[in-house]
């Protein structure tokens, strides 16, 4: 499917989606509550068939926290990049995509570990890299740790 058709299709499913400028991928900013609907459609519909989630990234843009999903279809060879953002730095929360792509299991645990973004419906949301009793989320921009970090 070429990118124009894909854009139409995604806008049909989620009219609130905003397309963003990006040279490499078709990028959409999705409202967090529509994430589940869109990803389910992307995965399940035969003509979209996004069966491979190749990257899931947690990002701290300074004021907003968010997650970037990179999806591609192994059969139809088209890819898309989805973004969700939230202002809520205390208890950021998005829907999980683990039930669609099992890759997301570890990725989401990592994002929870390093950014403190909670994923509703994730089967086993524990810290994956740091100890269970670690305080704070180290990849956030405002993370400070005077004991462990030596600044250059």
């Amino acid at each position: 499917m070429d990118s124009e058709k894909l854009t139409d299709k995604i806008l049909e499913i989620v009219p609130e989606a905003q397309q963003e400028e990006n040279k490499q991928f078709l990028t959409f900013l999705i409202p967090p509550d529509k994430l589940k609907t869109l990803t389910t459609h992307l995965k399940e519909e035969k003509e979209l068939d996004f069966d491979y989630l190749f990257c899931l990234t947690g990002v701290d843009w300074g004021t907003e926290l968010g997650v970037v999903y990179h999806l591609t279809s192994t059969s139809l060879n088209h890819s898309v990049e989805l973004k969700v953002k939230t202002d809520n730095r205390e208890t950021p929360e998005f829907d999980t995509v683990t039930d669609l792509w099992m890759t997301a299991d570890f990725f989401e645990r990592e994002v929870w570990d390093l950014f403190g973004i909670r994923f509703t419906g994730h089967p086993d949301l524990r810290r994956i890299l740091l100890e269970e009793d670690w305080v704070g989320y180290p990849m956030r921009k405002d993370y400070t740790d005077e004991v462990n970090i030596v600044e250059l």
Partner: protein, 192 residues
């Protein structure tokens, strides 16, 4: 000083002044002979623990393999259990989560036990000294270290050289005195 390893002369080694600090003080003829025999045995059969955390572990494997052959030094077999090991070669970064495990492994080893810090990460934190939140800056914050081998990663020959340094150190031990517990003075952090 009669400490000779293989056919390396005393002057060929580095850091002889620190070695002289460790030198034993006197002893009668009988005891020194027994010491020599025991130290000869100990220094030529130091068995390492299979403990590799990252890149330096690959060089440690390379040292154990055909080209460099660890076993020529009596470091015959890698033991998977700390109970059977004499030396722990800390090859790689030690992070906060791993430090308790390393400490426990060290505690489980039976005396006499030795530690070689191999590679920049184990010596001082190396590339992960600054700006990171989860790294122990030098394994000597966790366990006392006998020999430091810098390099990232050190060549297999450098590891063999470090092993010879350790053998020299073992040859200076005496059974008359308890082996110095390593916490006095030698375990210090370096101001950078």
């Amino acid at each position: 000083m009669g400490v000779r390893i293989k056919n390396m002369k005393y002057a060929d080694f580095q850091d002889n002044e620190t070695l002289e600090l460790f030198e034993k003080t006197g002893g009668n003829v009988m005891l020194t002979t027994i010491d020599d025999v025991i130290d000869w045995g100990r220094s030529n059969s130091i068995w390492p623990l299979t403990f590799a955390t990252s890149c330096c572990g690959i060089e440690m494997m390379a040292t154990g393999a055909s080209r460099h052959d660890f076993a020529r030094f009596g470091i015959e077999v890698y033991r998977a259990s700390p109970r059977q090991a004499d030396v722990i070669v800390v090859a790689g970064t030690i992070v906060n989560k791993m430090a308790p495990v390393l400490k426990r492994l060290y505690d489980q080893m039976s005396d006499p036990k030795y530690v070689i810090a191999m590679g920049a990460c184990a010596v001082s934190g190396g590339p992960f000294f600054y700006n990171t939140y989860h790294v122990i800056r030098g394994v000597d914050h966790v366990v006392p270290v006998d020999v430091y081998i810098p390099g990232c990663p050190p060549r297999p020959e450098a590891l063999l050289y470090g092993v010879m340094q350790l053998q020299r150190k073992i040859k200076l031990e005496t059974i008359a005195k308890e082996r110095k517990t390593k916490d006095d003075g030698r375990r210090r952090t370096i101001k950078l």
